[in-house]
């Protein structure tokens, strides 16, 4: 089938603002959007720039706005989109070229929540024990691939660039509810600050955008409650 691919292009050396460009591509229904982008790059216009690595939804490189929704290009199939497909960079991060955005603000928020196990107690000789139920408690957050689809779909993040955003809060959740972690209060500094979880307006965009089906909004709510009911 013939697919019309409309891509929002931007070359900082030539363009004052982004512009739409249309390509006609021959595609199979089970092709990934990533396959179409590769076809355009390989056969029609080598200047098209986008990120990708693993090609099957694990590395998080190719998050983009496809037909108006944040998705991974490698996990989105032509058959689910129809014959006209629009592709734009994810929103709220500075566009550097075509579909490539500056990820640094995103990773700065990630670092702010101290995304590592905090536990200064001397470790035992073998593993720290953890029951399957304790392990299950924080499982959803461990699926996060840091693709930024959730954070860049969040209206609060669009209007307030200092908001930590859903992905960073998910990372915090992953440690807050890990029975081995002792860093709760340290994380609260960022999470309970003016740019923290209270900025969340429960729009559910993040949950809809997550390509790993993480219940992001729910996890944010759980972090809010943890702060609210924390006894100092």
């Amino acid at each position: 089938m013939q697919v019309t691919l409309k891509i929002l292009r931007f070359d900082p050396a030539k363009d004052a603002r982004p512009r739409w460009q249309t390509f006609q591509v021959e595609a199979e229904p089970w092709d990934r959007v990533l396959d179409l982008l590769h076809k355009v790059k390989g056969e029609q216009d080598g200047t098209l720039a986008f990120r990708r690595s693993c090609g099957h939804g694990i590395c998080g490189s190719d998050a983009m706005l496809i037909n108006g929704r944040n998705r991974l290009a490698c996990k989105t199939l032509v058959k689910d989109l129809g014959s006209v497909i629009t592709v734009e960079p994810i929103r709220g991060l500075p566009v550097e070229k075509d579909l490539i955005v500056d990820m640094e603000p995103f990773f700065a928020a990630y670092r702010a929540v101290k995304p590592f196990l905090i536990n200064d107690e001397p470790p035992p000789e073998r593993e720290r024990l953890q029951s399957p139920q304790e392990r299950e408690r924080f499982d959803p957050g461990t699926k996060c691939i840091l693709c930024a689809a959730c954070t860049t779909s969040c209206p609060v993040f669009w209007t307030n660039g200092t908001y930590l955003g859903p992905a960073a809060i998910v990372q915090a959740h992953r440690f807050l509810f890990d029975s081995r972690d002792r860093g709760k209060r340290e994380r609260f500094k960022a999470l309970a600050s003016a740019s923290g979880v209270w900025r969340c307006r429960t729009a559910f965009n993040c949950t809809e955008a997550c390509p790993r089906e993480i219940p992001v909004t729910q996890l944010i709510e759980e972090v809010k409650r943890e702060i609210l009911f924390d006894r100092f």
Partner: protein, 577 residues
């Protein structure tokens, strides 16, 4: 622009991050240079587990793990490497747990373990629960956990920097040149020690589980500089690639009880490996699958694949222990593995060969183990040789933490006694020239076209089964492709995010590593592990119980030297399962 760090690690996958972390813990100033953003390296795609004789589910011993590794490698494994590995991987897994890695748990709170191909108890008698796992995203969890620790230790990252040269001065590693994707600028990195942890090169093949970015960059760069590549003929095909895409479906699926079936519904592995059946090592299973298809028992309208049957497993096992592969199967094929079997065929997966190193990750330049001072390698890019002729499942994740850690510690200690060498703009010259040549070329050859021809021809002539005739044909194909590569031209002449230029550079690396692989395969006239020559079907210990070192001598020619296999505890025996 110039940068200085005591230890510079190339690559931010599991091996690179483990190296960086342990070097930093030794007190070194460490930087990681990666062509990707962190956490996007391919370690994240590893699914099934990390093998270690923890003995949490049943009796296990590091000696059994060592034996399985040596036998799995068809006795080409260096036994000193296997011993160090089998002992230290236990400690490494415990350390990962202490770093916060969310392993699955047993009811008693210990790390859960599952079965995996080629891992046995009691010297091969039956499969054993050895693979510690976190659902079917163990690699993802390892990558995330190691990156988290790097953040904690404030390690410097140069993200999206594509290394174009390793600077050796008087045979000593002194620095790197890297191309910054965002700006197109070339950067000079001065270092006291350099660790190559840049991963594999599965993209030489059309059907592969590997990321688009796995193009053998640093192997090719060192090979061009006259350093050897070891055992390149041994390239592993993983049996269960989602057909026809090649996306990986973990061996853990068979560890949990999945069964391979042909068009007649037969569990055909009973014929090839009567003792451990579907949990035979990958080389055996991959060959068996090809033979079933070749003999007309393939499935589907074209009889070109077999089926992985999970339908007899309790649905909750699939949902809890194999969630990701179920999702792959549903998304990419529309097949629900709880209800119907999944089409699979072998997919190019892992390079057993690579940059030869000592047990401490020091790169060596010859068969006498002469070290290149200051240069280290770890992970899939390296060859210690732990995996020999065929790697057992879960041993790659173990390899990268054990030998990443050793390389990191040794590199940091080495760096302490060194001074920086002042590098000059001159060292950028070769990289600059290469880039300018591609940018200014008026040729007509296209990157995507040449790459596709390379990948298809490698698939046709140098994959699971090889013959002298096919390999000779591929030698000719490679000569022609390398010649055409000289006339490669790109559309993008810009500086910012010129990803087309990077792809053109990567194509060059793919061609070089293919050359080393194909010549090494043609040279080795026996069948061993993943190297199956139909014209030499027997293993020949008399002549070939040795490692290949392939050197580029220019003009499409390769020369060979040989390194003895380190034997010891286990005498080579016939390999049956």
């Amino acid at each position: 622009m110039a940068h200085r760090h005591e230890v510079i690690v190339v690559g931010a996958g599991g091996a690179g991050l483990a190296t960086a972390l342990y070097a930093a813990r030794e007190g070194a100033d460490v930087a990681v240079v990666s062509k990707l953003y962190p956490t996007r390296s391919h370690t994240g795609a590893a699914q099934g587990g990390i093998g270690a004789a923890l003995g949490n589910v049943e009796e296990d011993h590091w000696e059994w793990h060592m034996f399985d590794t040596v036998k799995g490698g068809d006795y080409l494994t260096d036994q000193d490497a296997a011993e160090v590995f089998a002992k230290e991987v236990i400690e490494a897994v415990i350390e990962l747990e202490h770093m916060g890695l969310p392993f699955d748990r047993l009811p008693n709170g210990k790390i859960a373990q599952r079965r995996f191909g080629g891992h046995t108890k009691d010297w091969g008698k039956a499969p054993v629960h050895r693979a510690a796992h976190a659902a079917d995203r163990t690699g993802h969890m390892i990558l995330q956990t190691l990156y988290q620790q790097c953040v904690k230790h404030n390690i410097t990252f140069y993200n999206e920097f594509h290394v174009t040269d390793v600077i050796l001065v008087d045979g000593v590693a002194r620095g790197l040149v890297a191309y910054e994707l965002a700006t197109g600028e070339l950067h000079l990195f001065e270092a006291k020690a350099i660790v190559i942890a840049s991963g594999g090169f599965g993209r030489i093949y059309k059907v592969t589980s590997n990321a688009y970015t796995l193009t053998g960059d640093l192997q090719a760069i060192l090979y061009r500089k006259g350093l050897p590549l070891e055992d390149m003929e041994f390239y592993q095909f993983h049996p269960t690639g989602l057909f026809p895409l090649g996306i990986l479906l973990t061996e853990g699926a068979r560890g949990e009880g999945g069964i391979l079936r042909n068009a007649l519904g037969e569990r055909f592995m009973e014929r090839y490996a009567p003792t451990i059946k579907d949990l035979a090592p990958r080389d055996l299973v991959s060959r068996a699958m090809y033979l079933e298809v070749r003999e007309g028992r393939g499935c589907g309208p074209k009889k070109d694949h077999v089926l992985l049957d999970l339908t007899h497993l309790p649905p909750e096992v699939i949902e809890k222990k194999l969630p990701d592969i179920s999702e792959f199967s549903r998304i990419y094929l529309g097949v629900d593995p709880r209800k119907e079997p999944v089409p699979v065929m072998p997919t190019a997966h892992y390079a057993m060969g690579g940059i030869p190193t000592t047990l401490w990750g020091e790169v060596i330049r010859d068969e006498k183990n002469t070290v290149v001072p200051g240069l280290y390698a770890a992970g899939e890019a390296a060859c210690v040789s732990l995996h020999g002729a065929n790697r057992l499942g879960t041993n790659s994740l173990g390899d990268l933490v054990v030998f990443g850690r050793r390389a990191g510690i040794h590199a940091a200690r080495f760096a302490k006694d060194q001074d920086y060498l002042e590098l000059t703009e001159e060292h950028l010259g070769e990289s600059r020239e290469r880039i300018e040549r591609i940018k200014n070329s008026t040729g007509k050859e296209k990157v995507a076209q040449l790459r596709a021809e390379l990948q298809q021809s490698m698939m046709d002539h140098a994959s699971v089964f090889r013959t002298g005739e096919l390999l000779k044909k591929q030698v000719e194909v490679l000569k022609e492709l390398m010649d055409r590569y000289q006339r490669i031209a790109i559309d993008d002449k810009g500086d910012a995010y010129n990803t087309e230029l990077v792809e053109a550079l990567e194509l060059g690396y793919l061609l070089e590593v293919s050359e080393a692989l194909v010549h090494s395969a043609l040279n080795r006239t026996e069948s061993r592990g993943a190297h199956a020559r139909e014209d030499y079907p027997e293993r020949d210990d008399q002549n070939w119980l040795k490692h290949t070192l392939a050197y580029k001598v220019g003009d499409g020619k390769v020369s060979f030297r040989y390194k003895p296999v380190v034997l010891g505890r286990f005498e080579p025996r016939a390999r049956t399962y």
